[in-house]
Structures are given as structure tokens and as C-alpha cells.
Amino acid sequence: MSITTVRPLGFFVSLAALLVVACALPHFANRGVVFLAGVVATNIVFGIAFNFAFAKAGVLSFGHAMFFAVGAYATAYLILNHSWMPFLLILLIALACGALLALVTALLALRRAGGVSFAVITLALGALVHVLITKMTVLGRNDGLAGVARPPLDFGVFSVPLAVGDNYYYFLVVTCALAVVLMWFLWSNRFGRSLQTVKSDPARAGFLGVDVNAKRLKAFVISGTMAALAGALFAPWAQIVSPELALWTQSTMPLLFALLGGSAFYLGPAVGAILFGFLDYGTRTMVGVSDLMVGGLLLAVVLAVPGGMLGMLSALWTRMTVKRETTNAKLSEARP
């Protein structure tokens, strides 16, 4: 799947629209829906972070849940045990933990293996992280860490109490939006375009003097760090973290978001995460149906609509505009 060109206007307009909807939500929706919206916001960051490595650099990881879990656990642990720390410092430490884990994973595995074998190595490493979490008493073993408070956001001169009302929700949404903007710059600048070269033809990229391994490593570390950010924001939102966050089924969620929305599009995972939020909400009480739905959807997307929702829409759009155009334009388009 080739990556589509990024139009800044379209991106910022879509993001602004999403932000407006997200910020208006607490005024008319109930608490359950607002909670779900917060989860979807972290999922969007998680999905885009995953897709940065998957679609942009061609690195498929089946262990991304470990970064999310490390971010979430680091935040929960620090809030519970070192409550004197300012919240922003806690977030930074959580990000650093994710970055470190991603760096170690990449150094261990990325240089030697690609494609399917890298996916399986990350699967094994993710399973290892999950087992370690369930065995560490400081991390609450199988029970996880509960009662994670939402600490105040201290700016020195003034501080915002995030535990009050919907304050944490707004903080979460705005931080997620900032993360999405940051990754958008990385996706569309020179660095992002060089990742595309690495993905489509590593050998030729190497001949052209691009350090393929270094690019892949950077992309993977950025991806892991951002996944840790999603986890770090998630912990005080859910107020509980459990080892299931690190389970390998969790690792495949961002993959689902990306493929569902369209992995070739920067906002594809966001569309996928939102769609999945609706579906999950609709089937949450039916045992077994959610697995069937997730599995069936993934299968359908891989088999029938490899471009995802956005891919389908853009194909429709092209067909419609082509029809409207004159024969002359059609002729010039048909020429290679």
C-alpha cells in the first residue's frame, strides 16, 4: 500500500473538527460515553503511533502493548508512590521508560530480523513483559494497581486540579491532539519521507546513502514512545491498570485500528479507533461476539478492503470526480 500524500489543510481541519466534538461531548453525553471518548482518544494516539512504524517504516510489531503498558504502569506507580512529583515530570518519566524499552527491543531485534520474524520476536518480548508484570509485587502482580489519582497540573504560578469535574478529560484530549500534531510533522517532513523510501525499497535506499537500520530504529523508538504516552494518559483516566494491558491481544488493537481506518492514511488509525469505539460500545454485553466481531472485521478488511475505510472513500471520491471530468482530462490521465 503506498502512502498517500498529506494535505496540511485537510489534516488540520479534520483534527479541529474532532477536537470540537470531543470538547463538546461532556455537555450533552453521559459519563459512560465521556469515559469511552477518553479511551478512544488514547487509542487514537496508540494507533497512530503503531502505524508510524507499520505503514511508514514497514516495521510490523506484535508487541506494542508492552509500550502502552509500560507507560501506564510507570505513571500509575509514580502517582501512587511518589505523589510529590509534578504530573508533567511523571509523564516525561513514563515516556522515557517507553523510549528505553523500544530502544532495547529495536537494538536486540530490528537489526537482525525484519517482517514476520520481527513480528514474532516482539510477540515473545511482549509476552515476557506481561509475565514479568504479573510477577512483580510492586506492580500489584495479577491484580494490577488500583486507585490511581488524577494529580494536579502544576505550572508553578498556578495549578489546575485535574481531579475536579471533567478537567482531566480536557487535559487528556488536548494532550492527545498535541501528540497527533507532533507525529503529523514527523510523518510529513523530510524524515517521514525518508522512512517511506526505506519501506518501499530498503536495498535502493541503502545505495542512495540512507542508513536503513538507523531510520527503522528511530521510527520504532518514536512509535514506542508515543504508545507509552497513550498508556501514561490512560492510567489516571481509567484510575486502574491491570496486566491485561500488556497482553498480546492488546498489541493487535492498534493494528486493527490502522487497517480498519486505512493504514496508508495518517488519520486512518484515528478513524479506525473511533469506529471501533462505536462497535465495542454496541457489543460490550455479548460474550464471544466481540471476538467474532474484531476477528471478522480484521479478516474482511484484509481480504476485501485492504485500503480500509479511508481507502474505500478515497477510491469512491476518485471515481466520482473522474466521471465529472471531461474526456480530454480522462485521456491525459490514461496516459502513463
Binding site: G115, V116, S117, G296, L297
Partner: protein, 295 residues
Amino acid sequence: MAGDLLTILFNAMTWSMATFLVASGLTIVFGILHVLNFSHGGFFMIGAYVAYTVLTYFGFEVPLWAYLAASFIAAIATGVAGVGVDALIFRRLQNVEGVYVLIATYALLLVCDGFVKLVWGLNYLGASPPNGLLDAIFLGDAILPTYSLFVIGCGLLVFVLLECILNHTSVGRTLQAIAIDPWMARAVGIDVSAVYRGTVIAGFSLAGLAGGLLVANQSLSPELAHIYILQAFGVVIIGGMGSIRGAFIASIFLGLVEAISATHLPNYPGVLFFATIALVLVIRPQGLLGKEATA
């Protein structure tokens, strides 16, 4: 002390052969089609549940022939499922990138999970070993349950049969030819897609057979697929992707790792196992014995 060692070795062999039974079908499908099939664990689980359902008709006293018959029924059921999976999924994904195939088989595993949860529910179910395999042999300090001996025997039998078929029959040689170069095999007149279909059916039947034979080895729950598929993946990957002999040796190696960790690190089940897999892959991404993928 000698008894301890014997117990460790015996536990290692039981784990190894149980895992090898699951990994054998996975290995064959990977060796010929080059598809790393996540859903293998799902069909293994469905096989176990099918066998369990058959066994409930016999109550608590299950004769050995009925146990084996239940396993074969499970094998047939998953084999039939294999026909559908081959036609609907594998065939369509022949020219798609490897990672997308991996994703599709993972999706199929989730479908299997959902199917099992809908049909058999979330509760833990259990089947007991058949008559004649309920007692144990005492060798010094070591207690060797006859059911575990049965599992070891089944694993060895499947290994020997597969080795013979792959290396000493014309079918086996055809399979090896296709595994190495499907294009050339087509050029000399071999019906490659029929062989692919046969391989998928054989692999899926082996999954169902393993499910049936191992139904009394552990309790049944919808997590069964995930437990065994990770073990079988470890075996297949360390064994060098697609080599039956490699998978056999790797399953013994990982069985020893697992038995040693169960004895010496009982509080950390799985840590040594996953650490070993990760370490082996980091040092030799092509597996311990692998050079290239051949059956």
C-alpha cells in the same frame, strides 16, 4: 536425586510431545505454504472442544477406543474447516505481503475464540483420561502417569510417521519440491494448488487430532488457543521454520527449559521460556537449525 532428574526429564518429555503434537501441523503449513498460521491454536482448541463434546456421551468411564475415536472425529472436523479456510482465506492471500497474511490468520484465531465462547461458554471444562490410562508407574521416587506416557507415545508416533512420509515417499518428495520452488514444480506438471489444499487439510487435521489427544492434558477454556499457540510458535520458530525434525528437537529443548524453570523458578512460570525464545531469535533469527524453509 536420580528420581528428581527422572521427574524433570519425564515432565520435559510430556510438555515437549504435547507441544510437538500442536506444532507439527503448524510446521507443515509453514514449510509448504510459508504461512505462519496463528489460527492453528484456534483450531487445536476447537478440536479439543469437539472431542470433549463427543466424550461427554460416554460419561466418566471412557474406553480407550472411544477416546481415540473422539480424537479422529475432532481431526475430521478441523480438516473440513481447513478446506473452507484454504478456499476463503489462504488462496486469496497468495500474492499478498507476509505481514498481511499473519494479520489475517490472527483475525481467524479471534474468530475461533469467539466461536468457542459462543458455543461452549466461558467456564472451565475438563475431560478425564480414558480407562487404562488413569494410573501411574512408580520408578524409584518418580511418578510417571500412564496418560503422560500415552502423550509421549503419540508425539513420537506422529513424528516418525511425518518423517517417513516426508522423506521416504513420492508424496513427501513432491512436497519438498513445492516447498523449495512452487513455480518450477508447476512447470513440471505438479498441481500445486491441490497440494496446497491437501497440506492445509493435513495441517488442520493435525491440529484437531492434537486437540483430541490432549483434551485430558489440561482443563478446557477459551484461553487454550493462546497458551498453546505461543508454545507452538516458539517451537516452530526455534526449530527453523518449517522443518519437522527441527520442530521436534526444538520442542524437546524448550520442554527441558520449561521443566527446569518449573522446578527451579516455580514462581515465575513462562519467564525463562519467553526469555529463551527471545534470546535464540536475537542470536539466530533463522532458528537453531534453520537454513531455509523446507518441510
